[in-house]
């Protein structure tokens, strides 16, 4: 087959997966948050309101694409793309099963984080280009948050990498099928990773960049119609990606305990997706429980608490890994 055709088909497949995922997560968010707050969430359209998303998407599609004056035109236009494309591309490195993985690079984790690091750039472009003070404040906050939280995030992701000795998500998952899942030996790293993922995906209690009560909607205040839709979708897609990375790094990926990973077959992606959605549920649970931090509190928490803990923990784990590998002569 023509490599171009395959490439286009794969991209379309990715977009479909992303859209489905995004819609499911949006529905789930509404329902979970609703019930957490003793509400119901959508109920009217379809069973349990599951079709509510259809009119929502139609609304986004047919809405007028308003372009406010005085914007930095090119930044304004390109920002949703910068936010959307990395969120889409990150899907290719997620190992849904040992076969179902878009592109198994041996630096998969780094590649994923590389994609995710581009997103704050898009957010900043959106805030800067909008020519709106709320958008700009939201954008600077997003960048500040990303800088302070990405370091502990990467440090905590280093722990499973050190334990495995590989940057490949697939290898990390495979290593967990033979030993325990890494959340057990690397519990603090798992907690740090979880907290930083919440920050990375812009969710409450760290949703500084779009603090509705202070900044209207933060960096996307001036966006409407499908441009806003792209940003919105990218946010939920990031949610899925962070949860998927967390499952691969700490919760054994597609594997289940006491089951031979080679016999999983078609169940592997299902197990992986269920696990991912459980992590997403945990995100939403936190989101529905806690109120927003103040900006300085958030930065102080990132720099003064998470960062030293992550640093010390990484050094300690590195020390022990080296010690054990010296004793056993390589490998864990």
């Amino acid at each position: 087959m023509n490599p171009w055709a395959t490439g286009i088909l794969h991209t379309l497949l990715l977009i479909v997966v992303m859209l489905l995922n995004g819609s499911l997560i949006i529905y789930m968010l509404r329902k979970v948050l609703g019930h957490l707050h003793l509400r119901l969430g959508p109920t009217e359209l379809g069973p349990g309101g599951i079709l509510q998303l259809v009119p929502d998407i139609v609304k986004l599609l047919v809405k007028e694409d308003r372009h406010p004056g005085k914007t930095d035109r090119w930044l304004y236009i390109i920002a949703p793309v910068i936010v959307f494309v990395p969120a889409l591309m990150a899907y290719i490195a997620i190992p849904f099963s040992d076969k179902l993985i878009g592109f198994d690079v041996n630096l998969g984790v780094l590649m994923l984080f590389g994609f995710l690091t581009v997103i704050p750039l898009g957010i900043f472009a959106a805030g800067w280009g909008s020519h709106n003070k709320y958008a700009l404040i939201g954008a600077t906050r997003a960048v500040g948050g990303a800088i302070s939280y990405e370091i502990p995030l990467l440090l905590s992701a280093l722990i499973p990498i050190m334990l495995t000795g590989s940057f490949s998500l697939k290898a990390i998952t495979m290593a967990q099928t033979t030993s325990v899942w890494y959340w057990l030996p690397a519990f603090p790293a798992m907690i740090i990773f979880f907290i930083c993922s919440i920050m990375e995906t812009n969710q409450s209690p760290f949703d500084m960049s779009e603090a509705e009560s202070e900044l209207v909607s933060g960096f996307n205040t001036e966006y409407s119609a499908m441009r806003f839709g792209f940003m919105y979708l990218a946010e939920f897609s990031n949610n899925f990606i962070m949860a998927a990375i967390m499952v691969s790094l700490f919760f054994g990926g597609w594997s289940l305990p006491f089951i031979n990973p080679n016999t999983m077959g078609a169940f592997a992606p299902i197990v992986f997706i269920i696990k991912t959605y459980l992590v997403i549920f945990a995100f939403m649970f936190i989101r529905g429980t806690f109120s927003r931090y103040r900006v300085d509190q958030m930065l102080a928490f990132g720099w003064k608490k998470l960062m030293p803990i992550a640093l010390v923990y990484t050094v300690v784990v590195a020390f022990f890994v080296k010690l054990i590998s010296m004793k056993t002569g390589g490998g864990l």
Binding site: V32, H35, L36, H37, L38, R39, L40, T43, F285, I286, G288, T289, F290
Partner: protein, 182 residues
């Protein structure tokens, strides 16, 4: 540096949220389910009808004068025999704050606060309601007037004024502030 405390509150909050997640639903889905209004609920003003289905409004306009928001507008005409006729009893439902002052003020119990909670309309005109149109006002039930006696005869306005002037005269003169006397 702030004293380090174990963040118990985080877990407490999460426990409460978790319990709430599984709690029975307390939401009433309005158009499908309805809430039984309590006895004391008071919504828009309505006419109180007697057992014959007739209103008891006398057209005295006390409610109109009481309403702080000028919601009620009663158009009354009086014929030669001094019979009152209510042309319109206009009530601007959209602006009423349902305070109930008019109901309290009405000496004849002619109006009450109804229980109609569905006060949204498609048309602006519907917000103003004509509660009584072109009807005769009820004659207020009067007691027999007591026969006038010498004692109870009301003091005429002028006499009352003179009396007040006499008692206040000394103070007025001392002050010298009265323009007429100087």
């Amino acid at each position: 540096m702030a004293r380090w405390k174990f963040p118990v509150g985080i877990f407490k909050a999460m426990r409460i949220a978790w319990i709430n997640l599984w709690r029975k639903n307390i939401v009433i889905q309005y158009p499908h389910e309805r809430y039984e209004l309590p006895e004391r609920a008071r919504w828009s003003v309505e006419m109180t009808l007697d057992e014959n289905g007739h209103h008891t409004c006398t057209g005295c306009k006390i409610c109109e004068n009481t309403c702080a928001d000028y919601i009620i507008n009663i158009d009354v005409s009086v014929d030669e025999e001094r019979n009152k006729h209510i042309n319109h009893w206009l009530y601007q439902r959209g602006a009423c704050m349902m305070c109930g002052l008019c109901v309290e003020a009405c000496p004849f119990g002619a109006i009450h606060m109804g229980k109609n909670i569905e006060l949204a309309y498609f048309d602006k005109e519907d917000l103003t309601d004509d509660l009584l149109t072109d009807t005769d006002a009820v004659k207020p039930p009067r007691k027999e007037r007591p026969a006038p006696t010498a004692k109870s005869e009301p003091v005429s306005q002028e006499a009352a004024h003179d009396g007040a002037g006499k008692t206040g005269k000394s103070t007025k003169e001392e002050g010298g502030a009265d323009g007429d006397n100087s």
